[in-house]
């Protein structure tokens, strides 16, 4: 269980409060107007944004080092190192030193195959399409197998069909690994598609997740204002 206990983020004139729990294995969409603090919320959980209050996972406070947290995060862009091959980018999730044993190399190979990139391991990101780049990043989260997966709109630049494909892949990965998912989205259809719960971030508050269907069918005033 992920708990945000009386968490407060202050950056200049920006404020965000959060005080809620996310149950293990939940799939939570994070929606809200631009600039409300969706990415900031994920950044705080990932360890990049200083905050007051506590964030705990299974009762323990999270480590200070983002890399030591039980978290995989995909950013809006720049999720791959452009000078490393696809396979190397995936392998970073296993061992950043890239000194892999034969079984480990096999796992990287399997992960690439699992996301549909069989045989493309030697390509550099620049030689891959946008969708393929996303697949590499997802393959890495698969192989890292952290219990918390945070997606900060990594598929925003993809076309609708491609995005749907990616979301389906995410759903499969989460189902396989049992990971808890927090996913920022601008599109309520995404939320409906794969998230059973939705958290609204608006007016300086990140609200506790609600069942997606109920929330979207009967939106509170802030959400209504956002949905228009």
């Amino acid at each position: 269980m992920l708990r945000l206990e009386d968490m407060k983020i202050t950056q200049g004139g920006f404020h965000l409060r959060a005080d809620f729990e996310v149950s293990q294995g939940a799939r939570v969409a994070v929606i809200g107007p631009s600039g409300a603090g969706k990415s900031t919320l994920l950044g705080a959980i990932a360890g990049f944004v200083p905050h007051a209050g506590r964030i705990t996972w299974r009762g323990d406070p999270l480590a200070k080092d983002p890399g030591a947290r039980p978290v995989s995060i995909l950013f809006q862009d720049n999720n791959l190192f452009p000078h490393l091959s696809a396979a190397e980018n995936v392998a970073l999730g296993l061992k950043p030193s890239l000194r892999l044993s034969a079984p480990e190399r096999a796992r990287v190979h399997d992960a690439l195959a699992r996301v549909g990139l069989d045989g493309m391991g030697n390509r550099r990101p620049a030689e891959l399409s946008g969708g393929q780049q996303s697949r590499v990043a997802l393959a890495r989260t698969l192989i890292r197998a952290r219990p918390l997966l945070l997606l900060d709109e990594p598929f925003a630049a993809l076309g609708p069909a491609l995005k749907a494909e990616m979301l389906a892949l995410v759903a499969e990965i989460v189902a396989e690994t049992g990971a808890t998912l927090l996913m920022v989205s601008h599109d309520v259809a995404d939320a409906r598609a794969i998230c059973d719960e939705t958290s609204l971030v608006a007016g300086g508050v990140a609200h506790a997740p609600q069942p997606t269907g109920a929330l979207l069918d009967d939106p509170p005033p802030e959400l209504r204002a956002y949905l228009g």
Binding site: A46, G47, F48, K64, D65, P66, G67, A68, V71, S72, I73, F75, D77, N78, N79, F81, P82, H83, L84, L92, G93, P96, S97, L98, R140, R144
Partner: protein, 519 residues
Amino acid sequence: MTQARVLTLVFASVVALWLLALNFGAVGAVALRAEGLTGLRASDWAAVRFTLLQALLSALLSVALAIPVARALARRRFIGRGLLITLMGAPFILPTLVAVLGLLAVFGRSGLVNDVLGLVGLGPVNIYGLHGVVLAHVFYNLPLAVRIILQGWAAIPSERMRLAVSLGFSPTDRLRHLEAPMLREVAPGAFLLVFLICLTSFAVALALGGGPRATTVELAIYQAFRFDFDMGRAAALALVQFGLCLGAGVLALRVALPSGLGGGLDRPLPRMDYRARAIWGDGVLIALAALFLLVPLALIVLRGAPHLVSLPAPVWQATMRSLWVALGATVLTLSFALVLAHAILALPRFGAAALEWLGLAALAASPLVIGTGLFLILRPIADPRDMALAVTMLVNAGLALPFALRLILPALRDVAATQGRLATSIGLHGAARFRLVTLPRLRRPMGFAAGLTAALSMGDLGVILLFADAERATLPMQLYRLMQAYRQDDAAGAALLLLLASLALFWAFDKWGRSDATA
């Protein structure tokens, strides 16, 4: 072709002509006057060997030491960090005369180090000789190397750092995936720059070499002029020096590889490292580097402070003159660098490469030959004294151009690569494009380049000695005259004044460049 493009190429041709005159016309004039080149002697080849050896050692050591120091500075944030970085840059902009005095106060026979060693019954350590020359060159160039490599660290896109942190990279992983590729790109350039600076070293080798074993090529040129009155040999030696520099440049370009780290959106991100031991190590490294670079400066300050207020009027007048020369040279250098950089991007590959090399060529030129050559060229036209300050300004601009170009060109390439299409697509051209798109992104390197030029120009003694007389003396020339006249107290005061003025100029321009941190 747009009007702006035509103008750029016209201005670039003017700058290129000046650089040709400076770098090659001067040697030509000297050779012409001597009615040809004279063959070199055995001792000249010994000078070539020593020059290469000391430059190689100096550059290797400077870069090798700069990497850990820059790394420590890159990942630490502490109060006074900016000030420390500025102060640590001071030795590079220090006039050699002053720098050597500061070093001797620390490492000389009666300096601090030997005083301490004497207390524990050791020593004395002798600073004179090859190791003294290398020590002085490292003192001089470590700040430059640190700044270049620090910029390399700053240029690693914050997105990559963020990704690295989120994947739990250890310091070793970070070194391998982020820092090593960056260093592969940046370090050869830093090495080349330091190597070239040391290749044309004159005053340091003369002051600390300890004798004729430590003769550099530039020193041999001086001997050819002053002892042998053999301008043909001076010109021949200048060409040898040029060849050495060219060879080094070609080698360094082969070693340097693009890092492939790509561009980012410059998102601000606090750098993090969570190991207490690393913090300790960084602290010790920064402290050691600061001690090495700042103690000699502190001794110059202590020695000069009591005599600063009582400096004679001519010193203050010279200071004003030097400030004007420095500001003029700065304006010229920045204009030259911007014009050349734009032209390099506008030209096809061969022309661009030729222009870039020409812009860097002054690093290889001998200041002595440049001064003499210009004198010979200008003498039939007018009284050199009347042109002393203008010539100093122009020569300083040419000599500082390699630094400015190296700073500005990559940044401009970056702007063109990342925002060129966007700007073109919305029809942004000419002055508006420069002001709105280019300038904000060039501000940092421009500020740094301006600071460097102003400070170097402030402290340069090069050509002015041949051209000016007492009424037109600059501050370094006045300092030199005070030392010649054995006015040691006034000289100490003037050295401090020069140090302060150089540093203030550098600080002011560099601050301007960094004042808009989000740009």
